[in-house]
C-alpha cells in the first residue's frame, strides 16, 4: 500500500506540522493522527529531534482511541525508555490499561502516582474518567465536585461536570456549571448557547425568557450560530403563544421571533444557492416557520 506521503505528496515536515496543529487545537481526529503519526515515527523519527517524544505521546493516545494497542505499546515503550520515572508517562501506562478495560489495575496505577504526588490533577481526572466509563455517574459526579472544590479554575472539569449533570437530567446543576464557564469565558458563544438550551429544557416562563436572552447573547457573539438562531425563534415563539403573558411581552416576543425567522430564511436561501442537496431542508424550515406563526397569532 502506498505511504501517505506518496499518496498526498507531502514531506515529513508537513506531517510534523499537521500533528502540531492538531495538538494545539486539541483535536480528537484519532484516525488521522494514527495514519500520519505512524508513518512519521516509523520513517522519520531521527529527523524529529526533541519533538519526537511529544509526538510519541500524541500518537499513543490516538492509537488507544482506535484500538491500535500494537502502536500504542510501541510508543509507550519508547517513552518509558527515555523517561523511566516520569509521572506523565505513568499516566499513559494507566490510559493503556483503561483502553484494555483493566480498570482495577489502572486505578492502582493512578493511586500510586497520587501517593507520590497528591496534587497530580491528571491522575485524578483519569480516575474520574474510569468511573464514567464504568457507567458510575453518581460517583463520577461526586468525585468531580470534590476535585473542583480544590481546582476551581479547571474549565475542562466544569464542562465535563455539566455534561454529566445533563445526562442525569439535573438541569439546575448543569446550568450552574455553565454559569461558571460563562463567567470565565464571556466571549464563548457555545457556552451561552448551551446554557440557553438547558434553561429552555427546564421550562417555565422565567426559564424560557432566560433562554431567549442567552440565545440572543450567543448570536451577538457569533451571528452564524444556527442553534442559537433557532433557539431564539423557538423560545420567543413559545413566550408569545403563552396565554399568561402581558400584551407588551407578547408583542415584543413576536418581534424577536419574526426577526429570527427572517434571519433563518435568509440563511437557508443563501445555503440553497446552487445547492440541490438541501432543497428538502429549506422547504421543511419554511413550512415550520409558517405553521408556528399560526400558533402565535
Amino acid at each position: 500500500m502506498a505511504s501517505l506521503s506518496e499518496m498526498y505528496d507531502v514531506g515529513w515536515e508537513e506531517m510534523r506540522d499537521k500533528l502540531r496543529k492538531w495538538r494545539e487545537d486539541n483535536c480528537r481526529n484519532s484516525e488521522q493522527i494514527v495514519d500520519v503519526g505512524e508513518e512519521l515515527i516509523s520513517e522519520h523519527a531521527s529527523k524529529l529531534g526533541d519533538d519526537v517524544w511529544i509526538i510519541y505521546e500524541q500518537v499513543m493516545i490516538a492509537a488507544l482511541d482506535c484500538s491500535r494497542d500494537d502502536l500504542a505499546l510501541t510508543c509507550l515503550q519508547e517513552l518509558r525508555k527515555q523517561f523511566p520515572d516520569s509521572h506523565r508517562v505513568k499516566r499513559l501506562t494507566g490510559m493503556r490499561l483503561e483502553a484494555l478495560e483493566r480498570y482495577d489495575e489502572a486505578n492502582k496505577h493512578y493511586d500510586a502516582i497520587l501517593q507520590e504526588d497528591p496534587t497530580n490533577t491528571a491522575a485524578r481526572k483519569r480516575k474520574i474518567s474510569i468511573l464514567r466509563a464504568q457507567g458510575k455517574s453518581t460517583e463520577a459526579i461526586r468525585e468531580l465536585n470534590e476535585y473542583l472544590e480544590q481546582f476551581v479554575g479547571d474549565q475542562e472539569a466544569w464542562h465535563e461536570l455539566s455534561e454529566l449533570y445533563i445526562n442525569e437530567h439535573d438541569y439546575g446543576k448543569a446550568a450552574f456549571c455553565l454559569e461558571e464557564l460563562m463567567m470565565t469565558n464571556p466571549h464563548n458563544h457555545l457556552y451561552c448557547e448551551q446554557y440557553a438550551e438547558v434553561k429552555y429544557t427546564q421550562g417555565g416562563m422565567e426559564n424560557l425568557e432566560l433562554a431567549r436572552k442567552y440565545f440572543a447573547q450567543a448570536l451577538r457573539l457569533n451571528n452564524r450560530n444556527m442553534r442559537a438562531l433557532f433557539g431564539l425563534y423557538m423560545s420567543a415563539s413559545h413566550i408569545a403563544a403563552s396565554p399568561k403573558v402581558s400584551a407588551k411581552v407578547k408583542k415584543d416576543n413576536i418581534k424577536y421571533a419574526a426577526w429570527a425567522a427572517a434571519q433563518i430564511n435568509r440563511a437557508y436561501k443563501l445555503a440553497g444557492r446552487g445547492n440541490k442537496e438541501n432543497k428538502c431542508s429549506i422547504k421543511a424550515v419554511e413550512e415550520m416557520l409558517e405553521s408556528m406563526q399560526i400558533t402565535m397569532s
Binding site: N167, E197, G203, M226, M234, A271, E287, M288
Partner: protein, 205 residues
C-alpha cells in the same frame, strides 16, 4: 403486538451513524413510507443528534422539521433509535423513553430501537438491535420473532463495506446540519449509494 420490518437502508444508516460517532450517544427517528395497518415497515431513518441528547430545543426542532418533511414525502415517523456511548449498556435512557412516548402519541405501534454496541462487529451473526414496543403505557421488549430483517447477510455486508470505504463520513445527522446548513439531513447521496450496493432482488430498500 405486530410485526416490524427493518429495511436495509434504515439499518445501514443507523449503523453508519453510530460508527461516525463511536464515542458519543447518538439517536434518530425511524420512518415508514408504507400505509398504516399490518406490519410496521421501517423504510428509512433520519439521524438526529450526537451530543446533549436530553436537551429539548434541538430535539423539538428536529421533530418538527422531520414531521414537515414526512408530510411532504408521504412518510410517517414510526419509531426512535438510540445507541449509547457506553457500548456495554444498551438500555433505554429516560430521554429515549420520553421521545418514544411522544412518537407513540401520534402512532400507536411505534417502536423504540436500541443499538447494542457490544455486538456490532462483522463477526457477530445476529443484528445488534434490541426493540421495544408500547404495552399498557410501558415499553416492553418485543418478541424477537416479530422483528424481520430481510436479507440480513446482504444488509450486514453492505454496512461493513460502506464503513470500510469510509462512507460513514458522508452521513449527515441533524447536529451536523446545524453546524453547516448546506448539508442534507435526508442523506439522499447516501441513500443512492446504498441502493447501488443492494441487489435488485432486495425489494424493501
Amino acid at each position: 403486538m405486530g410485526e416490524v420490518e427493518l429495511s436495509c437502508r434504515a439499518y445501514v444508516k443507523m449503523y453508519l451513524h453510530s460508527c461516525l460517532f463511536p464515542r458519543c450517544s447518538i439517536n434518530g427517528l425511524l420512518l415508514s413510507s408504507s400505509s398504516a395497518g399490518g406490519a410496521v415497515c421501517v423504510t428509512d431513518c433520519v439521524p438526529l443528534l450526537h451530543s446533549h441528547l436530553p436537551l429539548a430545543p434541538i430535539t423539538q426542532l428536529a421533530l418538527t422539521q422531520v414531521d414537515v418533511w414526512c408530510a411532504q414525502t408521504q412518510q410517517r415517523i414510526v419509531g426512535y433509535y438510540q445507541a449509547n456511548a457506553c457500548a456495554s449498556d444498551c438500555s433505554p435512557t429516560p430521554c429515549a423513553l420520553k421521545i418514544a412516548d411522544k412518537i407513540a402519541e401520534q402512532f400507536e405501534s411505534a417502536v423504540l430501537l436500541m443499538l447494542d454496541g457490544s455486538k456490532m462487529s462483522p463477526d457477530d451473526r445476529v443484528p445488534p438491535i434490541v426493540m421495544y414496543e408500547r404495552r399498557d403505557s410501558k415499553w416492553v421488549l418485543k418478541d424477537k420473532h416479530t422483528i424481520m430483517l430481510r436479507q440480513w447477510e446482504e444488509t450486514q455486508a453492505i454496512a461493513s463495506q460502506m464503513l470500510e470505504s469510509g462512507d460513514h463520513a458522508l452521513l449527515v445527522d441533524f447536529d451536523g446540519h446545524l453546524d453547516d446548513i448546506t448539508k442534507d439531513w435526508t442523506n439522499q447521496t447516501l441513500n443512492a449509494k446504498i441502493a447501488e450496493l443492494s441487489s435488485p432482488a432486495n425489494g424493501n430498500i
